[in-house]
Every structure is written in structure tokens, then in C-alpha cells.
Assembly symmetry: C2
Homo-oligomer: 524 residues x 2
């Protein structure tokens, strides 16, 4: 049976199965060992045979959680492999309860602000050994958070596999530095660690440092007429103020820096391991009553509450980040390798069109205007194409994520990575501010889901499905996830995968979490 499937798959996929970087975990093109073997999410508990079966590009079986297993909050999960665009399912998923333990700071690499070049360090992170299967821990042991994540790999499955095993530990590490502060909800985070709040006489005495800048600011504000707060008398020096930071901001900062550290680790470990490709990352952290949704890529999370949609992420694509990328190309033209132009045109320019006037957009523009075409404009545009076909440097269709350190423009020495950001946008949802019923959920999905179904269609499908389930059946969220993946994949007809209204189904990998929100209200 397995052999037959494998043969069929190999035949169906033609050269792709043996095609190098997109086939397998990337070790075919490298003598380095794998950091982690290719896998499906640990929580599915699949055998090697089952994993192989799951890669059937013709049957495209939908994998769900076994009834004997249960994820935190009774979270539902389902996934399906693509229709042949890569041999393996390049999506990965993770769902765990994680403890950020009190440990000495040296345990984690500190996040490095951007001015310092990343030092080559050995990774000091464990490889998942503090996975927790229990929900309730003594407070003294550390800070507990719930964690769900989806990763969508490209150009190989390596980065997605590594990130799905380790990103949660980077988050735990970043949170370790602030455990005590987060616990102490009644006082704001101290500006400086190890000092009494407000006891620092930082502007009394004689600060020996950049004194001139300090007085400069005050004097300029009083004299030179720069915009200031309305007052008929010279304003008092205002630099005694101290910005107050919220607890929530520390968690956001921890998640942002965790993504950065994960990306730096991928870069370092590529020296000693084979880690192919790159991946998007969509993470949800539940901590102290709030959900923190971090997104770097084109996956999406929405909350469905009383059938209303709350958007919890933005997609980062060549179109949505066009101006950031064009600005970088304008500022650092050497990154374009004399082959690309930072200007955008509606299509390629021909040599015979030099001297004519053509529509263009610069990094400053949301609108369009005409410019006279010059030789320079014959270069390939940095951003090109529309919608799902839009590409950066004619190569990649997503502008944030992890990995891709070696990715170059084909047949050139132009690296893509400088244009990609590993930083997530983090949105916060305060669970304690709402009552949630059994049908109120968060839906997380890779782009395979959202490419074919709108937010409204997903909401309609999930709400209808859940309302027809026994509210006490803890398996209902998994069944709803399965239903959703089925609706996005469709069924195989003569002319390919079809969904309702004869639309094309998604030929991409599809992964979906459905997280019921009422469990959050029940947490301590």
C-alpha cells in the first residue's frame, strides 16, 4: 500500500520529488547533518509509516488529532499536504504549555539591539526538553504560558521544522528576564533593574555625560520656535520626565526579540547543520489573561466572537510592504546588485520605450504618476507582480519570516535576506474583557486556507459547524478544523481540486488551529 502510494506520488510529481532544494529536508544538497529530522507536528503522534502516507498528493488525506490525544484548551487541529508543489508538507505546527523558569540570565542569549553585529555564539538553548504536558505548575517554578504556532516553509522544510521545535523556547528565554516584573501587576515595570522605583536622582548632581544635548534641547525649545506645547512663558525643562511602560509591552518586546533570536540561531546553525529554506511564523501566546498574536508572514489569525470577526494579524507581502522595501533599495542600492530598480512599473519596460512616459511609483508614493523612461528603468523592478504573484527581487512572495539566509536571486549573487524582516507584528487580545461562549474561537491558518476562503466564509463555516455539535464534546474543535481544511482543499474532480461554486480548491499545504476561547477565562 505504501509502496503504491509512493510510486503514484513520484509519478504525479514528476521531477519535483528528486528536485533538490524543494524536495526533502534539504540534506540532499549538503553534507551537513540535519538539525532535526523531517516530521509532522509532535502532538499528532504519527508513526513513520503514517507520516509517509500523509504525503500522498493524490488522496491528500486530512490529518487530525487522534481521539486519544488532547491539546491544551481542547484546541482543534487539522492539516493537509499540497497537491504536488513540494514532496513534503512544508507547513509545521506546535502547541504546548511552556514554562519560563527562573534561571540565571546567562542561560539565554540576550537580545542584541541592532547596532551590534550578531556575534557568532554556540546555541545554548535546549532542544525542546522542557516540554510540559501538565497545565498546572507551582508559581514558584516559573511563569506558565500556552503556545500555539504555525510555520509555512518555502524552498525546503528545514527552517520550518527547526522553528517549530525551538521558537517557544526563545520566547520562554526572553520572558525569563521579566518574570518577577510580570508577576507584580501592581507596580509598573521599573525603568532600570535592581533599583527602587523613582529613587534614581538621575538629573540631580552633575551628569558627566552628554550634558550639552540635554541643555540644548531645553534651550532650543525655549528659543528657536520649534513647535512646542502652548504656553505664554518659557516652558520648564521637560526632561525630568520618565516614560511609563506597561507590562503588556514587555511581553510584546519579548516575543519580538524571540523571533529575532530564533532567526539569528538559524543563521548560526547553518554553519553546522543542514537547514533548508525559510518559513513564515504565526504564534499565539496566552499569558496572564491575554492572548498575544505574533505574525511574521502571510498566515492569518482571526477571532470569531458571537459570529463577529476580530482581525488579529496582518499579512506581510511584497505589496503590503512595498514602500519599506523600496525605501531600503533606494537607501542601499548595492543590495539591488545593479540588476534591479527600486521603482515600480505596471509591467516590464522595453528598450524601445526609453524616452516615452510611463506610469511608475516611487517609495514615497501610494498613487501613480508618469515619468520619462530612462535606461536605468530597464532593470527588473524590486517589487513586481500583483496579489499572490507579487515577488521581491523576482524570487519570493512573502516579506517576513525566519531563515532564508542563503536565498539568492537565481543565477546571481544578490541576497534576498536583507529585504526580509524576521520581526512579527504582535497584537493583543484581552480575554478577561469578554465573556466567551463555547462557539467563540480563534482560527489560525496558513495561507493555503485564506487563499481560497474569506474571513466571512471561514466564520460562517466554523460557526455553523460548531452550533451543530454537542457543546460537551471536546473533539468538536478538531472536527471543525477538519471541516474547514476540507472546505479549503475541496474534492478531486477531472480538472483538479474543486470547492463550492466550482471554484479552485487550495493546492497548497493547509494547516488550521481552532482554539476555543472560553478556556482562557477559566485559567487562574
Amino acid at each position: 500500500m505504501l509502496t503504491r502510494v509512493k510510486t503514484a506520488v513520484a509519478g504525479f510529481m514528476g521531477g519535483i520529488m528528486t528536485g533538490g532544494s524543494s524536495g526533502g529536508a534539504g540534506n540532499s544538497s549538503s553534507d551537513l547533518p540535519l538539525k532535526f529530522p523531517y516530521m509532522r507536528p509532535e502532538f499528532l503522534g504519527l508513526s513513520a509509516d503514517e507520516i509517509e502516507c500523509s504525503a500522498d498528493h493524490i488522496a491528500r488525506p486530512i490529518l487530525i488529532l487522534k481521539e486519544t490525544r488532547r491539546l491544551p484548551w481542547a484546541t482543534g487541529y487539522a492539516e493537509v499536504i499540497n497537491a504536488g508543489k513540494s514532496a513534503l508538507n512544508e507547513d509545521q505546527a506546535c502547541c504546548e504549555v511552556v514554562v519560563a523558569r527562573r534561571r540565571p540570565m546567562s542561560y539565554c542569549p540576550p537580545s542584541t539591539p541592532s547596532k551590534t553585529p550578531t556575534a557568532k555564539r554556540r546555541n545554548s538553548l535546549p532542544n525542546g526538553e522542557f516540554y510540559m504536558s501538565t497545565f498546572h505548575l507551582q508559581e514558584s517554578e516559573g511563569l506558565v504560558f500556552h503556545y500555539w504556532a504555525l510555520f509555512d516553509g518555502h524552498a525546503g522544510s528545514g527552517a520550518a521544522v527547526v522553528a517549530s521545535r525551538l521558537l517557544q523556547h526563545h520566547i520562554a528565554c526572553q520572558l525569563q528576564a521579566v518574570i518577577e516584573i510580570l508577576r507584580n501587576l501592581h507596580s509598573p515595570p521599573p525603568t532600570m533593574l535592581g533599583e527602587e522605583p523613582d529613587s534614581s536622582p538621575y538629573l540631580q548632581g552633575n551628569p558627566p555625560g552628554p550634558h550639552r544635548a540635554l541643555t540644548r534641547a531645553a534651550s532650543l525649545r525655549g528659543a528657536a520656535g520649534a513647535p512646542s506645547s502652548p504656553s505664554s512663558t518659557p516652558p520648564p525643562p521637560r526632561f525630568y520626565m520618565e516614560k511609563k511602560v506597561q507590562h503588556e509591552s514587555l511581553v510584546i518586546g519579548a516575543i519580538e526579540n524571540a523571533f529575532k533570536e530564533m532567526d539569528a540561531q538559524l543563521e548560526r546553525e547553518k554553519q553546522v547543520y543542514s537547514i533548508s529554506g525559510g518559513c513564515t511564523a504565526l504564534t499565539v501566546v496566552y499569558l496572564l489573561g491575554k492572548l498575544y498574536v505574533g505574525n511574521a508572514g502571510d498566515s492569518r489569525a482571526i477571532i470569531i466572537r458571537s459570529n463577529e470577526i476580530v482581525s488579529m494579524s496582518t499579512e506581510f507581502t511584497p505589496e503590503s510592504e512595498r514602500q519599506r522595501l523600496q525605501f531600503l533599495g533606494y537607501m542601499q542600492p548595492q543590495l539591488l546588485g545593479n540588476e534591479f530598480t527600486h521603482l515600480e512599473f505596471p509591467r516590464r519596460v522595453q528598450r524601445k520605450e526609453v524616452g516615452k512616459r510611463m506610469l511608475y511609483r516611487d517609495f514615497t508614493m501610494n498613487g501613480w504618476a508618469y515619468k520619462t523612461v530612462e535606461d536605468e528603468d530597464l532593470k527588473f523592478p524590486l517589487i513586481y507582480g500583483e496579489g499572490k504573484k507579487a515577488r521581491v527581487l523576482a524570487t519570493i512572495g512573502v516579506t517576513r519570516g525566519l531563515g532564508d539566509h542563503d536565498l539568492k536571486v537565481h543565477d546571481s549573487n544578490i541576497y534576498i535576506k536583507p529585504f526580509l524582516s524576521c520581526i512579527p507584528e504582535v497584537r493583543v487580545y484581552n480575554l478577561t474583557q469578554h465573556e466567551h461562549g463555547t462557539d467563540d474561537v480563534m482560527v489560525m491558518g496558513t495561507d493555503g486556507l485564506w487563499d481560497v476562503l474569506t474571513n466571512e466564509e471561514v466564520t460562517e463555516a466554523v460557526s455553523t459547524f460548531l452550533s451543530n455539535c454537542d457543546p460537551d464534546d471536546l473533539h468538536r474543535y478538531t472536527m471543525a478544523a477538519q471541516d474547514l481544511v476540507m472546505r479549503a482543499r475541496g474534492v478531486l474532480r477531472d480538472r483538479g481540486w474543486r470547492i463550492t461554486n466550482e471554484r479552485l480548491g487550495s493546492g497548497d499545504d493547509i494547516s488550521v488551529f481552532i482554539i476555543p476561547l472560553m478556556y482562557g477565562n477559566r485559567q487562574p
Copy 2:
């Protein structure tokens, strides 16, 4: 009377009146002639004596349109000078009906995409001589648009005066290139001017140019596994596509490039004229059924429709643009002159705190984290302060606008201008998609208004005022503007200007347009 006022004002303002850059139009510190004399908005029709009276910082008279004068659409306008922070009212306003005439392209300087250094050109623009007092023009004469604008000057009134006289003509110039295209609503703007739509065989034949990049893109998409649209067969080359651009985008692009050209003109003309300071700019263009609201600075426009608020602009401040500015400082550290750090801290760092851990934010972060303080962190932060007190380079509290080319950090050679953007955000409101009653208006105000009144308070005040007016009284919008300025300025008590609930009134210059929207529906 005038003399008494002048003496009182001079006494009240102390040294500011004679203090150079913030007092007067800036010619005291320069031998160059003024480009335009200081003035109040042309449409107020004030005599020189009246202008002088309007600068009474104690009485702070509210200036409104005379009953004998009328602005297009019966627009209301009111303004008041500040409580002494500068000798002159540094706000300026403009309201005109402008014609973009069919003229040879050489009439306007073409907008220059950012790769080309701005050439030093003589300005070829008229200085306002095609001001139109009539609303209805023959179509053959050109394209007519309505125009309202507010400018809030700082560090002198020069830039605001010049921009209030000329920006509309830059917009007209940019629109000239696309008059025929905008008129022809039934076909989309052509990608290339002077060609039949879709007739260009740009990918047939043998393009002698960057052929490699073209095939590279297609081949990479087929082979290297970069994210692609779902498909089980190699995707066909997709670069035959051509992006379709909307008419609306041409108007947005024209406004964006007009701001850029206005700023470039200010830079050029500072060689031969005295033009002091800089200014924010908020413009509204009504063209072919749509309102285009362009904003560069911290003024604000809202639409009030059936008592509901529609936000029509974003404020650009050190806080709202923090990450853009930090990123620039990180990419081009020489702009920080070795005196500033691109990192943000909640307060200044002291030398004795080196080695301790302090809260910080990098350009990648929305949250906060702790870092170990280094010597480098003793520099003054690029972005510093909160709310109205936030500053870029300890100098300026607004991050977009026109002018400021000479502005430097006090007592240094560090220029502010590289961190400022002259590009507006343009939002579009389609007037034809809504029915508007006599009380539906757009309110435009400088920050003097919005610093003390919320959107909701402004809406409540305007709606209540208008509902108590005779709907046929065309002066009602001016009376409503006067009422609004009065509410923001307040009344002078023992301890300064006070508004309702004993709150502090605005001591800043305040300027307000109230534009009734039903007139837009009546335009041809």
C-alpha cells in the same frame, strides 16, 4: 489704539518679539528679500492695520470671513493667534478654485523620482496669478478643482506663507500631465502615454535589455520552491501581466509629487529669498466627485456625517513615526552626528548606570525589553519625550511638512531635514457615494484645535451649533468655525486661557475650515 496694542504685546512677549527666527518673517536675520510678505489668508481681505490688530496676544481676536465675502461651497473659516509663543500667527490658510490648464509639459517641472539628485532649477511657476474667482469654466480650458489648505508654521512664518501661496499651483501642474486621462473615465489610465492600450508587443520579439532577469524570475518560480500560487504543474510565465491603475491613483500621485515639488522649490528659493522655518500642510482637493485629503504634519481633518465621525487624516509625530526615524538613524548613523543614539529609552541614561539593565526599544520593536547599558547609550535618544513633548533630535515635534532645510540641532552641525518627510498621506472620500444634509461637513483644523478638543467634542459642538442655525444662512459655517475656535481658545482668566471644565485653552495658533459637503453633490 494700535500703538497701545503693539506696546502691550511687546511687553507681554518679552524678548520673543525681537528674537530673530521666531519673530516675523525671518528677514531680520538675512539680507535676502522676502519671497512674499507676511500676510493673513487672502480671502479674509484684511488691511495692513487689521493684520496688525489680529496679532494681539492678549485680546486674541477671532478672525472670520467678512459677510460680504464668500468662499466656494459657503465654506466657513475662523482663526486666532497664539497666546505669545511667536509674534506672528504662523498658521496660514488658502481656499481657491484652481484650474489645471492644458499646457505644454515644459510648463511644470516634472516630478523627479528619488534616484536623481534634485537639479538646481529656476522656478518656473507663476506666483498665484491664475487664481480663479469663478466656479464654472469651459471644460476645454482645463480641469477645475476646489482646494482648501491649512499650514502650521514653526521657527518662522516664511515657509507657511510661501506654501499657502504656491502649493495649489504645484498640484495643478502635476494634474496637467493627466488631464485627458482623468476626463476619460471609461478607460483606465494607459501604462505608456501615446500608445494604444494593450497594443504594445512588449514581450514579443527579442527584448535586448535585462532578458536574464526575466527568464530568471520565471525559472526560479518553477524550480526553487519559492512560495508560489498552488498548482501541480510548473506555472506559466506570469510576466505578461500588466498592473491596472485607477484614475484615483493618478490624483493621489499628483498630490504626493506636488508636495515634493513644493518642498524642492522652497529649498531652491532659499538661495535667493529669505524663507524662514518650516510648516505642516493639510490640503483638500475636490475633483470629479471625490475629496482627496493630503496631510503632512499634525493638523487633522474629519468628516461629520449624520453626527458620525469619519477620520480623514493621520498625525505624523515623533511617536507615530518612531520606527521609520529609528530605522533611518540605524541605516545612516552619520546623520546622528555621533551625538544621538537611534535606540529609545524611557529617560536619559546616566554614566553611573553603565553596566546595569535598562528598558529600551529598537526600530524593530513595538514592545520594550531590557538591555545592558553601554557607553554608546549615553548619547541623547533620537526620539525623546511623550505626546506633545516628543521631539526628534531634541528639536522638532512634527515629522512631516515643508521647508526646514536649514534647521539644525542647536549648537551643532546635525541637520533635522533628513528625518523629515514632505510626503503627505492622501485619503479619498467619494462624495457621490453618500447623500449629505446641510449639517454634514468636513472640519479641518491645525493642532491648536485638536490639542484641546477631541473629535467627539468637535463633532458635538459643530452639530449642535449648525442644528440651531437657519439652514439657508450661508454664513452659518463661518459662525460654526468661529464658535469652534472660541471653544478651543477659551476665555482669559486670572490664570490664563480656560475652556469648559476649567481645562486649559489652547495657547497655540488655531485655524479652522468647516466645509459643507452637500455642495459637492451639486457640482457637475
